[in-house]
Structures are given as C-alpha cells and as structure tokens.
Amino acid sequence: MSTMSEVKAGAPASVLAPDGVLADGYVPALDDDGLMSAWRAMLLSRAFDERAFSLQRQGRLGTFSTVNGEEAAVIGTAWALDPSRDWVVPQYRELPAMLRQGFTLKKALQYSTGDPAGNHMPEGVNVLPFQISLAAQIPHAVGLAWGLRHQGSDGVVVVYFGDGASSEGDAHEAMNLAGVRRAPVIFVLKNNGWAISTPVSRQTAAQSFASRAQGYGFPGELVDGNDLFAVYDATSRAVARARAGEGPTLLEARTYRMGPHNTSDDHLRYVDPVDLEERRAADPIDRLRRHLTARGLVDEESEASLVAEIKVEIEAAVQASEGGARPGAEALFDHVYADPPERLLRQRAAATEER
C-alpha cells in the first residue's frame, strides 16, 4: 500500500522521486508487464506529439494538441482501467488513454486532418468522441457511468478535464449529480497549470481542486501527476471504490503542460522560460527512465530500439491516414439524423449533384 493516504492536503501524493527512487517500503502495484507497456505508451505519446507537430508545420495536419508533459497523468489513470468493460471520456489531450481503449493513431491523425472518420470510435472501443466544448463531456460521463450501473454492468468511467474546464458550470453540475447518484465515475482533473495563457491562479483561489470533492460528498485525492506509480495507485483505488458501488472520486493530477496549448499557440509569450526549464526537470518520462534504468529494465540500447519501433508504427499510421479520397458533400449530411427530414434529403441531393 502506498503512503498516499497519509499525505496532507496541499502536497501532492508521490512515491517516485524525480531522481527515479521509490519511497521507502513502496512496492509498485503496477506489475512489470503493465509498467513496460506504460513506458512504451509514454515514449509513443512523446514521439507522436513531435511527429504531429511537424506534420502540422508542413501543412499536412490541422490543429493538434500535444500531451507533452502529461504522459504519466494520462497513462497512469488509463492503465488502471479494464478496456473491455471500463470507459474513457476524453477532452482532447488524452490520446494515450484512448489508444489503450482501442482507438488508433490513424484515426487520431484523421481527426486532426479534419476527416470525420477520425471521431468515429469503432464498435467495442469504449470511448466517447473528442470534446472541444470544454467540460460538456463531464455530465456525459456521469450519465454513462450511471447508465452502465443501471443496466447491471460493473464498468466504471474515467473522464478527463483540466484546470480551465473546472471553472465551467458543467463541471460543478456533473460532480454534484455524480455524488447524489453515487455514479461509478472517476473525475480526472489534470491540473497542467495553464488554460491556454491563463494560469491556474486565475481559475481558482483554492489551494487544490481535489478539496472540492468534500463539497460533493465523495473523496478527492491530490496526486503528483508526473509520478506514474502514484497516479496509477490513486486511480486503482478510485476504480475499486466505483466498481464496488461506493461512488465517484475526484483525482487532481498536478502536472505541467510543457509545450504550447496547441499548434496555433506560442506559449513563450506568457510562460517564463526559467520556470519552464525547472518544470522540464520534473518530466515524467525522464523520471520513469531513471527508475527503470536503476532497476535494469531499460538501457540506452533498448530504449533506442523501442523508439525505432515506435517510429515505424507512427509512420505506418501517417501513411494510412494520408492519400485517402477527400470526403464529398455526402459527409455533410451523413449521420446528422438516423431518419433525415425530407427537407434535408432535398438539400443533400442538391449538394451532391452540384459537385
């Protein structure tokens, strides 16, 4: 068992120090297979961020938001789920969690090129679409969790949002309802310090977001979002509670957005470069690498070969996502209604004939 429950409010729970050393007596709950797949997912996420950014600069991709810096927060939470029965409700900066549930890099690239197919989650992939209207997904997650339970499933739902979205009314309404319904949902509030250029100090006067949970009648935990083990453990506890019918948990994963908000943003207009360098010292990937190296699980050679393999995977996805036919006017009309009004069918006929 971790030391998490002893941590006082204000200090994020952590078991993996920045130098890669585990807290005294801490035994990871994440087994080596899980650990190594999480490590691979973190490297893949970082490599994909870089590749996607470069594709955007080449004009081959639209707006893209990186995970850069938040890999442990996203992967540590997602790895505590069982993709066959549990659900992920994303915002747009949680690609590794979606991939673990069965989403694909190809679809992620399609989404960012503006191909409608990118937001289609294949049947059996327990993920809701990307959410751009921030916080609107949080009520959905509560309803989904409630509905699963209503129908006898023991599946749980993880919903992601940020410090910015936490200011929206939907965040409040959703957490309040989740408490009332004891819905099996885990609110993962990634506090990455920024909502585009607005610092967290302008979102809240509170010392932590986790403390809000008390007001909703369920537990909240503040965890070091750059510590894969601490995030995984806190999520596992929340999942166990939710599965057992004990209701929701609010998990504040304190992390840092190490890059711009998205490809259209220049964070150096408002981020202090000295501060950014300090934050980079807490990079979750570097931290885990130090730990895995000390345990003899990775070395430079094995990481290089893993990264090479990942790059092949990413290039295959890039190839697969490019060169397809551009969607025609049908794409404007498909899936708007299951049973389209006559008026819309006439518009469709006109639009497709005009092409």
């Binding site: 989650m121 809701l128 989904l144 209503h150 129908q151 309040n176 899936h335 209604y337 299951a338 009004p341």
Partner: protein, 325 residues
C-alpha cells in the same frame, strides 16, 4: 373513445412507453413523488420505481447532459425541462451535444432522447417561464422539434418521438395542459413527425400555426366566418421535420396565408414559414403573407401578457388585413 386533456394524454403515453420498453427512463425536477409540477408524471414513480422515474438536482445542463451519457450507455432517457424558458441553462448541451452527437461520432452514438418542455403564455407564471423559444431549437441541426396542438397528437407524437432514433424536443403548451381536450384512443398508436394536419377547413386563406396558437387560430377563423371569410387552419405539428408539401398545397389552393405564433416576430419560426411559402408557392400568392406574433420585447410579467401573446382579436385583424390586401 375517452376524452382526455393534454396532460392526461402525455401521462398515459409515458406510462405505456415505459411499460413497452424497459430502456425508457424519466429524469427531471419534481417528477417523482410530486408527479411533476403539472402532474404529467403523476403515479409513474409508484409504477416504475425511483430508478426509472428519477428526481434530479435543480440543474438543467446536467439533466440534459447526463441524458447524453445515459443514451450512450444504451438507455432511452426522457429528460424534462420544467419550463422551456429555463432550457437556456441547458442550451449548450442541447444544441452543442445532444443535437450533434450522432454526427460528431459518425453514427456510433445516436441520441434516442426526448426532451419534454412545457412553454407558452397566458397562464400567469412568473418571469421566464412562458417564453416560446422553439426557433432557436429548430435552428439546431440534428434535433427534431415537435409542437402538438391536441391531446390526440400529444400522445401519438410523444410515442413516435420516444421510438425515434433521433433526439426530439417535445414542446407542451402550458395553457393547453388542461384546456385542450379531445378524443384519445386508449390503444397504442403513433402520429408521424413532419405531417401537418388540417385543424379546420377553409377556402379563402390558410392560417399556419402550431401548439397553443392553433387554438387561437381556430377561434379567429370561426369569427372570420361571420365576416364572410372561409379560413382554414393548418396545424404544422412539428417544425423539424417541416411539412413543406402541406405548406405548398395549402397556399396553392388559396393564395392567401397568415402565420401565427407565440414567439417574438423577429427570428421567429414564422419567418421560415414565409420564406418557404414564397419558395414553394410564390406564383399562387394573391396577397402578401401576414404574420401575427409576439412583439420583439421580452416576455412581460403577468398583468400585460394578454397584450403580448397573439390574441383571437389580433389574429382576426391579421386575417382581415391579408384578405383585404
């Protein structure tokens, strides 16, 4: 055949649909033990339990927003907005999420949901309870907007809406809940969405209306008869889907039309009706199309609302103006 008022017809439909399909569940404020502030859900929590007739926190956005998630899980939620005027508190969920979830997810997540919402004036409610906001929902692509004017249609169209795979905003006229009474079959039936109905026959002019405005239009048409005008009333029944064929045929045979609605004039759905008529039947027109609507002012407090909501007298004046043009 039993004569029911509109709220009885709605209640009977909700009970029957919950019986028919165990995925159907109701969410809203005060709908359980209290049976709804208008008694539309009276007795349903006793019959189906508190897990299917769910009293919700006072929070419109999450009443609708959680229904999105319930639908994604495979259920058929029927969230109730206690008043359509408060729908603005949930508009971002309705327009931004419910209406376009099927499109955004490319068919993976349909939204088989009916949002029930009472609306409309002349019942002396406090502020913001009475507004007729249907136009902004009709302008939300992906949503259907249904506005029955009879108890028969309320039952049949609500059943159709519940079984529809697409999300439906189902607007119920507050003033008609008890005043509108007509014959309602006890057995199961549905009324298709998007098929207008002749509420009254008449050869000289057609009044196009929906929901409680149909009743006002019918009374005005009766009075117009005494003045020698034969006025028909076309009840649109739904704005989306819109029965453009019925509009064309109605105007083609008469040449004169008047649109009546409770919503404000500017941006009201009447503008869409007028535009559609001129597209579909311009060469049949013998006079400019008239409109009788609420004024472009906020819905007033009770003492002056009769001056705001289109009255029989104002509609009759509208008929005369179009007939004499």
């Amino acid at each position: 055949m039993a004569v029911l008022n509109m709220v009885e017809a709605i209640r009977s439909c909700l009970g029957a649909e919950m019986e028919r399909d165990e995925r159907v569940m109701l969410l809203g404020q005060d709908i359980g033990v209290n049976g709804g502030v208008f008694r539309a859900t009276e007795g349903l929590q006793e019959r189906f339990g508190a897990e299917r007739v769910v009293d919700m926190p006072l929070a419109e956005a999450v009443i609708v927003g959680s229904a999105v998630g319930l639908a994604c899980s495979g259920l058929v939620p029927i969230p109730e907005l206690q008043f359509l005027g408060f729908g603005s508190q949930a508009f971002h969920q309705i327009e931004g999420q419910v209406a376009r979830m099927r499109f955004r997810s490319q068919g993976r997540y349909g939204m088989p949901m009916v949002i029930r919402a009472p609306f409309g004036g002349n019942v002396r409610t406090p502020e913001l309870h009475s507004d007729a906001h249907e136009a902004k929902y009709a302008n939300s692509a992906g949503l259907k907007v249904v506005m029955p004017a009879t108890a028969h249609d309320a039952k049949g169209m609500l059943a159709e809406a519940i079984r529809d795979p697409d999300p439906v905003l189902f607007c119920e006229p507050l003033r008609g809940y008890r005043l509108i009474k007509d014959e309602v079959p006890e057995e199961d039936y549905t009324v298709a969405l998007g098929k207008a109905r002749w509420a009254r026959e008449g050869d000289d002019l057609v009044i196009v209306a929906w929901s409680a405005a149909v009743v006002i239009a019918e009374r005005a048409a009766e009075l117009a008869q005494a003045e020698g005008y034969s006025v028909g009333v076309l009840d649109l029944r739904s704005l989306v889907p819109l029965d453009t064929d019925a509009l064309r045929e109605a105007v083609a045979g008469r040449g004169r039309a008047l649109v009546v609605h409770e919503a404000t004039l500017t941006g009201g759905f009447g503008g869409e009706i007028v535009a559609t008529i001129q597209e579909e039947a311009f060469w049949s027109l013998e006079a400019p199309i008239g409109r009788v609507a609420a004024y472009d002012t906020p819905y007033p407090i009770a003492s002056v609302e009769e001056l705001y909501v289109p009255s029989v007298e104002r509609v009759l004046a509208g008929v005369r103006a179009v007939m004499e043009a």
